[in-house]
């Protein structure tokens, strides 16, 4: 093994070095994939590549990321060559030169160097406000809920092309269908209140989730005030 190869092993993130690289400008692994340095850049044959080059970039790949709270979900990758489940942060699968499915972890360094700019362009997450009614009223919001309205306006102002979805929820007293209607009626009440505060009706999508999404899980038929609420989602 020559000195060049030893340097590649030291710097390559994932793949080993091959003494006979495929035809092309870059070092490639036995799968035909580019050898990358610790910054995620392709390593050019002969000379160390400092910038990303088109030929090196071309690959079909999926990289799992942790979400904003640090939690990691999972993706199932299916191909003619089988299927793989990714469930660890920066776990990645790619399509090899023969169409086969390969697994190979990326790193947070590669993701920030290669995709940092892309991730910064993501639309703002939806923001949700939960409003409640005073006891026994279908129209009068609690003082806490009324106090949320200025925050809601601020959330609208920081967004480009904001959309509002108003979603009513019920407890589990009554039938599914009746609760669908009741939850939508609650949402409509809130839409009217917001409209009176100056938000145009056509900016708001009004819907009801009925008893499907309780804040507190209960048995059917249980009267639970915390589940009788309206959520306003701004995105």
């Amino acid at each position: 093994m020559d000195v060049r190869c030893k340097q590649l092993i030291a710097s390559a993130l994932v793949f080993g070095c091959l003494s006979s690289a495929h035809a092309g400008q870059y070092w490639t692994s036995s799968n035909g994939l580019p050898v990358r340095d610790n910054a995620g850049n392709c390593v050019e044959q002969g000379v160390q590549a400092n910038t990303l080059q088109p030929g090196c970039d071309a690959m079909n790949r999926v990289i799992l990321l942790p979400d904003a709270s640090g939690e990691v979900g999972a993706v199932v990758v299916m191909s003619e060559g089988g299927s793989k489940t990714l469930n660890t942060a920066y776990g990645a699968a790619y399509q090899g030169t023969e169409g086969q499915l390969e697994e190979s972890a990326a790193s947070s360094e590669e993701v920030s160097s290669r995709f940092g700019q892309l991730l910064q362009q993501q639309p703002l997450p939806a923001e949700t406000f939960t409003l409640r009614f005073t006891s026994g009223s279908a129209t009068e919001l609690t003082p806490d809920s009324l106090a949320m309205i200025p925050r809601l306006s601020a959330s609208l102002e920081e967004r480009k092309a904001p959309e509002i979805r108003i979603v009513g929820h019920t407890d589990r007293v009554g039938s599914l269908l009746a609760n669908d209607r009741l939850s939508k009626a609650r949402a409509q009440t809130v839409a009217k209140v917001l409209n009176e505060k100056g938000i145009p009706m056509d900016m708001m999508e009004v819907t009801g989730r009925g008893e499907r999404e309780p804040e507190v899980a209960t048995s059917d038929g249980v009267d639970e005030p915390r589940n009788r609420r309206v959520e306003i989602s701004i995105r």
Binding site: D57, A58, M59, N60, R61, V62, I63, L64, L65, P66, D67, V72, G73, A74, V75, V76, V77, M78, S79, E80, A93, Q95, G99, L101, V111, F115, Q117, L118, L119, Q121, Q122, P123, L124, P125, A126, R159, K160, A161, E163, R165, V167, D180, D202, E205, T207, G208, R209, G210, R212, S233, R235
Partner: protein, 148 residues
């Protein structure tokens, strides 16, 4: 001068148009940084912030341009420069959270933050890149596509 009859007609047209469009819409462009085009039914148009994304749309970003889309189920899709993204299918019921999302990255890079569809019905959400089909279990990920 606008006659009273005309005014009523105008209002009716507006009132009818808004909710129908809201229902058909798959999502909305929230970020258009640079030049982004949408191809819909063979017609190519420049994408604008606030513009609709519909089922079947092909979204194409120019070099040095980014596109950020929020779908109706709160899925967020962000495309890098030189990307082509197709929304193959989209439907979403705001009451049951049932529906479908199939998207294909033909070229480029796409950052995905999945939404309510993947949470409620993960089997109804898939993404394609090359010969790979990705099923989502409520999560964030990046796709890359080499292009044809």
């Amino acid at each position: 001068m606008i006659k009273p009859g005309m005014m009523t007609c105008l209002l009716v047209a507006l009132c009818a148009a808004v909710p129908v469009q809201a229902e058909q819409r798959a999502g909305t462009f929230k970020v258009v940084n640079g030049t982004v085009h949408v191809e819909r039914a063979g017609v190519k148009e420049v994408a604008q912030i606030g513009g609709a994304v519909m089922q079947g749309d092909r979204v194409v970003t120019a070099p040095d341009s980014f596109a950020g889309i929020t779908l109706r189920d709160n899925t967020r899709l962000t495309a890098s420069p030189d990307s082509t993204l197709v929304i193959d299918a989209f439907s979403f019921d705001t009451t049951t959270h049932k529906g479908r999302l199939n998207a294909s990255l033909k070229k480029g890079r796409l950052a995905v933050i999945s939404g309510q569809l993947a949470k409620a019905n993960p089997e109804s959400v898939t993404y394609n890149t090359g010969t790979m089909t990705i099923g989502v279990r409520g999560t964030e990920f990046i796709l890359e596509a080499a292009g044809e």
